[in-house]
Symmetry: C2
Subunit: 679 residues, 2 copies
C-alpha cells in the first residue's frame, strides 16, 4: 500500500484518508462529501469544481500546501464543457491528492445546493434532486462475458462510478437501452429517479436535466421550465385555462358536467391538451425537446386537480364536497396524455374539498409550518383559501368570496388591463377623486395625464382599484360603517348622486350632470354591497380560524401573506381599511405573488420538500365554514367597514379613520342579515 | 372489562385472549392466525369457516366445550353465499367466543393454503396472494366530517376490517372510486396488491379474484385462467403463435427484423394481439369479464420475452447475445396493449441470452434449487435449455439442437397429428417393424389395425416416432455406433435398400420393391445424421454442465426431467438409447409436461414464489456453449449411439444392447467432425 494522505472537505468538515494519487472526486466520495458529477469523473461535465485551500488548519491539524495537489492536468487543459472552470478552481475528477489537503467545495459544486430564485420565491431552500443524470461508458460486450444484461451492466456501472444502485428500469425504457448505447458509441446517460429507478436513457453524454412546475388556476395556467440540478428557471409560460369555454368559474364548469353527460371528459381533455401544449412551448423556448423533460409537478385547486387526473369533479360541487383522494399522486406524463415520454408527474396533495394542491404549494413556499410566529396565508380568488398557524398547528379553510374581487359583480368592473383604474385617492375636503390608470405612470391630477392616457380607453375599474375606491370612500366619510353610501353626499359634492333609491359616486368622467354620462365611471350602492359580501365571507373564514386556534388576536399574527395575482396588486393598507384582513400592523402584511407555483417549483427540485408537504398536509386541521354556525355570525360582523364589531387600533395609527357620523335623516336602513353568496 | 377467554387456533397453535362475545374471526386476527375473509366479517363470503374442537387439550390446558362457542346464529342461518357451509363448520365472523375454546382452521379457510393442481403441476405449494379482494361498507358522508377523501376512507376501512393498510391508490383507479361506490350503494370491493396498492375497485360485493398465467412459446401460446384465492384453473386456452407468419423458428423471425426495418414492431404487435385475444377467450369461457383479471404472469424464451416488452430482439440473434434486461419485469396490461384495465403483469426473469423466463418458470416448477439431490432439467425445442444442479448450485446453458427433433429436417418428418407414426418396434430377428399411429390404439401387427386406421392418412413420423425408430434401428443392429445404416442390411432384410451412396430403411408401406413407392415411409441416412447432430448438441450441453459442476456422474443424477411437449412424448428408454440424456437409471427419467407454464401459475399465485425465482436466477451459473472449446469435443463424443466414448452400464441392464459388429466391407467412413447446426 502506497503513501496515504488525509483530505478534509469544507464547509462540511468531512474527511477521508486516501492513497497518493487519488482524485479529489474519489476522495470526496470516500468522505461522503457532497461533490457533484454527472459524467462520473471523465472531465466532461465540469460540475466537480473545487478550490484547494492552502495554509495551516489548526482545527484539523493539517498543513495544506500547493504540493498537496497535482499540477494542472491535461484533462483540465483540454476541458471545453458547458460550465467554464471558474477562476483558479480545479476539476475534482482530474486533480490528484499528493499530500494532506483541505478542499473547499463551492456551493455551485454541491448536489444539495441552496436555491435563490428571485423571480418566483425569495427564500432559499436546498435542492434534493428527485432525478439525477449519470453518464456511463459501457465496455465492449464479448461472448462469454458474465454480462447478465445491458440493464444490469448499466446498473453496475452507476453503482461503481456514482455509489448508487438503481434497482429497476422502467419497462418503457427497456426498448431504448440498446439503441441509445448504439447511438452513443457505447456510452449512455441515464436518468435515475430517487436513486432507485432508471426512467430515461440518452445516447452519449447529456448534461441537462429539466423539469416543469405548473400551477393550474381556474383562469390561467402558469408553467416554469426548471434546471433540476441548479433550480435555474429556463423558460416561463402562461396561458388561459381553455376550460373557460365550459364556464368562467369552477362551479359553472361543474354545472356543465352535471348537465352534459361526458362533460367531465371534455374538461379533462381541454386541460390536458393545454398542459401538453405548454410543455411543448416551454421546451421550444429553451431550445430543448419534450424527451428532455424528466419530471413535472402540478398544483391546482381540488377541481383542477381532479379533472387533470380524469376524476369526475361533480362530488366537489355538492355537499359533502368529498375528494376522491387527498394524497399526493405520483404518475406519468403518458397517463395524463402529455407527450413527455420520460417525465414522471407529481401532483401535490389536496387538503380538503375546497382547499387544494395549490394551497399545499403555497404552504410549502411560505412555510407557516416551519415558522415559530403565527402566519396568516390567504390566496384570494373566486374561493379564498385561508391557512393559519405555525409549526405547532395549522388550520385551513375555504371561504366562498365569489367573483366580486375580480370585478365580475361590479358595475364598472373590468380585468386588470390597459385603461383600467387601479389606484384611487379622494380628497377628504373636496371629495374630488384622483386616479391612476394601467398604462400610465401619472395620477389624473398630474400635468400631462390627459395626453399620456389619450390612447387608453379608460372604461372601468380593476380589482385593486375597486378595493381602493371603496376604502377611500369610507375614509372620506362617503360610506357609513354599515356600507351605505350616505344620502347627504349630494349636499357635499356633485359626484354623489341619487341613483334610483340609493346613491352612487362618479369616480371618473363628467361630474356636472346629475346622472352619469356614457363616459363616466361610477361606484354604485350595489357595487359596495357586492364587495361587502365578498370581503365578509373571506374575513369570517379568517376569524373562524383565529377562534379555532384559541382566539388568536390580530396583533399576535406575525405575518399576513396575500398570495395570488389579486393579492399582489392590492395595497395592504386598503385591505385593512376594508377589513379584508385582521388589524395586524400593516408592515406585517405583504403580497407574496404566485406562492402556489413557487411551491410547485420547490416540489420539483426536492424530494425532501415533497415529504415535507405530505407530512404537513396530513396534520392540517380542516375547518368547514359551511357547517359552522359561528361562521354566519362572523360573516355578519365582517360586513361593516372595517368590521362591525372588532376595533382596529393599529389601523387608527396607520391612517386617519373617519369620525362616527349620525345617520342622515330618512336614510333607509338596509337589512344586514348575512346574505351569503352561492358557492 | 367483561369476562376474558383464551382461544387457541390449530394447526398453528397461535392463541389470543379476547373478551366474551368476540367473533372467532376477530379472535383469529388478534392471534395472528391465518383465517381468510373477503367480506370483512359480514357473513357474505363464507371463506372464514372454522371447526370448533371439543374436549380437554392438555397441551394448551384448555377445556373446550360446546358452551364455549355461541349457538347457530341468524347470520349463519341466512347465509346463501357461493361457498356452502361445509358439514358442521361455523362462520368465523358469526360465531362468538363464550368460553375458552380450541378452533381448527381447515385448509380451505386459510389464505396461505396449499395448492394441488393435477392438471398443471403435481407438487403442492402455498398460495401467497399478490392481489387480495377486500369488501368495505362506506358510511354515508356528511358535510363537516373529518373525511379526508374517499380513497382515505376506503384505506381506513380496509385497515380497520382486515388489518392491512394499502398506502396508495393507482392513479388509474382514482376516477373509478366514486362511481363504484355509487353503483354499489356505498359498498365497494377493492383489489389490494401486495398489501400496498389499490389496483381495482368494483361496486358492491365481489368474491372472485382471477389472474392469467401464459407461456409464450415460439410455436404455441398456452394460457390458464386461475382463481387467485384457491389456485383453481377456471379455463385453459392454447393458440398458435401468430409470429409464425414471420418465420417458423426464432432465428428466422430475428432475421425478418434485421431485413425489414420496423419488423420488430410487427412482431410485438402480433404477439400482443394474440395475448389480448387469449385473455378475452379465457374470461368468456369462465363467464367473467376482462376487468375481472387482476394479474397476469408471462414466461417465454428471451426473444419472446423481449418482443412482448417491445424490445428489438436483434441483439439476441447475434453474439454476444446480450439481453436488454435479465431481471423480472413488473408492468401493466395497458403497457402491453392488453385490454385488462385492472391487471398488473409480471414477466419472470431471464437467465441468459438463450435461457429465458420459460426456463425460470420450469425451475420454479420443478425446484432443482429446492432439492438436495442433483436434478437435470431439459426443455427440448429448437433450442434446448438445460438446467443442472441442486440447492447448493445451479448451472444453465442452451444448446442449439435445431428443429430435427420436431421433424423439420427429417425426410418423412411431420407434426404430431393424426396419422403420424409415434411408436416403433423392430423385431430383432426378422427386422420387421411394427408401429403405432396417432389416432389408433392398435399396433400395426394387431388384428384390425388396417380397419382402425383406414380413415387416417399415414404419411410420416412425428418427433417421438423418430426417436423410437432410430433407437430401434440401433438396437436391432441396423445402425452402427457411429450412426451409419449398415451396408449389410439388404442382405438381412428387404426393408434396407441402397438409396444413392447410402442406405435407407423402409419403416412403413410396401417392402417388396427395391425403391420406395409413393406410399412408403423411409428412414434415410440423412435423417439419422440430422438426429445425431441434434442429440449431440443437446447432450454436449448436458455433459458440459456436468463437467462444470465438478464432473457429476450420470448415476449421481437424482432426477432427469424432460419438460415441454416433446419431452412429454418421448419414451425415456429411447432417450437413453439415443444418448439424448446421460445414463441415469431410467426410472429416474421422467416427463414433466409444460413446466414453464406451471412456473407461471406458481408466480401468479404467490409473492414468495416470485421472490424465490428472482433470487434463484441471480445465482445460476451461466455456461455459454458457443465459447467453450470443450463443448466441441463433447459434441463429437456425443455423435455416436448412445455415445462414442461414455459407457452406459445402466442402459445395458434396461434393454439388450446390440453386440459390437465389424464394419461391413467397403463401408464408406463418414467424417465425424463436429458439424454444428446453425443457431
Amino acid at each position: 500500500m502506497g503513501e496515504q494522505h488525509r483530505v478534509v472537505f469544507s464547509p462540511s468538515g468531512l474527511s477521508a484518508t486516501v492513497a497518493d494519487g487519488t482524485t479529489v472526486l474519489d476522495a470526496a466520495r470516500h468522505a461522503g462529501a457532497d461533490l457533484d458529477s454527472t459524467c462520473g469523473g471523465r472531465g466532461l461535465c465540469g460540475r466537480c469544481q473545487i478550490v484547494p485551500s492552502m495554509g495551516h488548519f489548526d482545527k484539523w491539524q493539517i498543513d495544506s500546501t500547493p504540493d498537496s495537489i497535482s499540477d494542472w492536468t491535461s484533462t483540465e487543459a483540454d476541458y471545453t464543457g458547458r460550465r467554464p472552470i471558474v477562476g483558479d478552481q480545479r476539476l475534482g475528477c482530474a486533480a490528484h491528492v499528493c499530500g494532506d489537503l483541505v478542499v473547499e467545495i463551492p456551493a455551485a459544486s454541491q448536489v444539495h445546493k441552496q436555491v435563490v430564485r428571485k423571480s418566483v420565491d425569495a427564500s432559499g431552500f436546498e435542492i434534493d434532486p428527485i432525478v439525477k443524470l449519470h453518464y456511463v461508458e459501457l465496455p465492449k460486450a464479448e461472448l462469454g462475458d458474465e454480462l447478465g444484461s445491458l440493464a444490469h451492466q448499466i446498473q453496475h456501472l452507476i453503482e461503481r462510478d456514482f455509489g448508487v444502485r438503481p434497482s429497476t428500469v422502467e419497462p418503457r425504457v427497456l426498448p431504448q437501452l440498446a439503441p441509445a448505447a448504439k447511438r452513443g458509441g457505447n456510452t449512455v446517460t441515464v436518468a435515475v429517479r430517487r436513486g432507485e429507478t432508471i426512467t430515461a436513457v440518452f445516447g452519449g453524454y447529456v448534461d441537462r436535466a429539466v423539469g416543469v412546475a405548473i400551477d393550474v388556476g381556474s383562469t390561467t395556467v402558469a408553467g416554469h421550465l426548471v434546471d433540476l440540478a441548479t433550480g435555474e428557471i429556463l423558460a416561463t409560460n402562461g396561458v388561459m385555462n381553455p376550460q373557460i369555454r365550459f364556464g368562467d368559474d369552477l362551479m359553472s364548469r361543474v354545472s356543465y358536467v352535471m348537465m352534459n353527460p361526458g362533460g367531465e371528459v371534455e374538461l379533462t381533455n381541454a386541460i390536458r391538451t393545454a398542459l401538453d401544449a405548454m410543455i411543448g412551448d416551454l421546451v421550444t423556448d429553451a431550445g430543448l425537446t419534450r424527451a428532455d423533460v424528466l419530471d413535472i409537478t402540478l398544483v391546482g385547486n381540488p377541481i383542477m386537480h381532479h379533472v387533470i387526473l380524469g376524476i369526475d369533479p361533480t362530488p366537489l360541487g355538492q355537499a359533502p364536497f368529498l375528494l376522491a383522494t387527498d394524497a399526493a399522486v405520483d404518475t406519468t406524463a403518458a397517463h395524463l396524455d402529455i407527450d413527455a415520454t420520460n417525465a414522471s408527474v407529481y401532483l401535490l396533495p389536496c387538503i380538503a374539498g375546497h382547499v387544494g394542491a395549490d394551497t399545499a404549494g403555497a404552504i410549502l413556499s411560505e412555510g407557516p409550518h416551519r415558522s415559530t410566529e403565527v402566519q396568516l396565508l390567504v390566496d384570494i380568488g373566486t374561493n379564498a383559501e385561508i391557512v393559519f398557524g405555525n409549526a405547532e398547528h395549522l388550520l385551513a379553510a375555504s371561504s366562498p368570496t365569489g367573483p366580486a374581487f375580480e370585478g365580475a359583480q361590479i358595475s364598472a368592473g373590468m380585468r386588470a388591463t390597459a385603461g383600467a383604474i387601479e389606484r384611487v385617492r379622494i380628497d377628504r375636503t373636496t371629495l374630488e377623486p384622483r386616479v391612476k390608470v394601467i398604462g400610465s405612470d401619472l395620477w389624473s391630477d398630474d400635468p400631462g395625464f390627459a395626453a399620456d392616457t389619450a390612447s387608453l380607453d379608460i372604461s372601468g375599474i380593476c380589482g385593486s382599484g375597486i378595493i381602493e375606491v371603496m376604502g377611500e370612500m369610507f375614509l372620506a366619510g362617503l360610506i357609513d360603517v354599515d356600507g351605505t353610501i350616505r344620502s347627504d353626499g349630494p349636499a357635499k359634492t356633485p359626484r354623489v348622486f341619487a341613483d334610483g333609491r340609493t346613491f352612487s359616486y362618479r369616480l371618473f368622467g363628467d361630474a356636472d350632470t346629475e346622472d352619469g354620462t356614457a363616459a363616466s365611471i361610477n361606484v354604485t350602492q350595489d357595487d359596495v354591497r357586492a364587495i361587502q359580501l365578498a370581503k365578509a365571507a373571506l374575513r369570517a373564514g379568517i376569524d373562524l380560524l383565529c377562534e379555532h386556534a384559541g382566539g388568536v388576536d390580530a396583533g399576535a399574527i406575525g405575518s399576513v401573506r396575500l398570495a395570488g395575482a389579486f393579492g399582489a396588486h392590492i395595497d395592504p393598507l386598503y385591505a385593512k381599511v376594508l377589513g379584508i384582513v385582521p388589524d395586524t400592523p400593516v408592515d406585517r402584511v405583504s403580497a407574496v405573488g404566485n406562492a402556489a407555483g413557487a411551491g410547485a417549483v420547490r416540489a420539483l427540485l426536492s424530494a425532501r420538500q415533497r415529504d415535507e408537504i405530505e407530512a404537513t398536509v396530513r396534520d392540517v386541521e380542516k375547518i368547514e365554514t359551511a357547517t359552522e354556525p359561528r361562521f354566519q355570525e362572523l360573516f355578519v360582523d365582517a360586513m361593516g367597514f372595517p368590521n362591525t364589531v372588532t376595533p382596529t387600533p393599529n389601523l387608527a395609527t396607520e391612517t386617519e379613520l373617519p369620525l362616527p357620523q349620525p345617520k342622515p335623516e330618512g336614510a333607509s336602513r338596509r337589512q344586514r342579515t348575512g346574505r351569503r353568496p352561492r358557492r
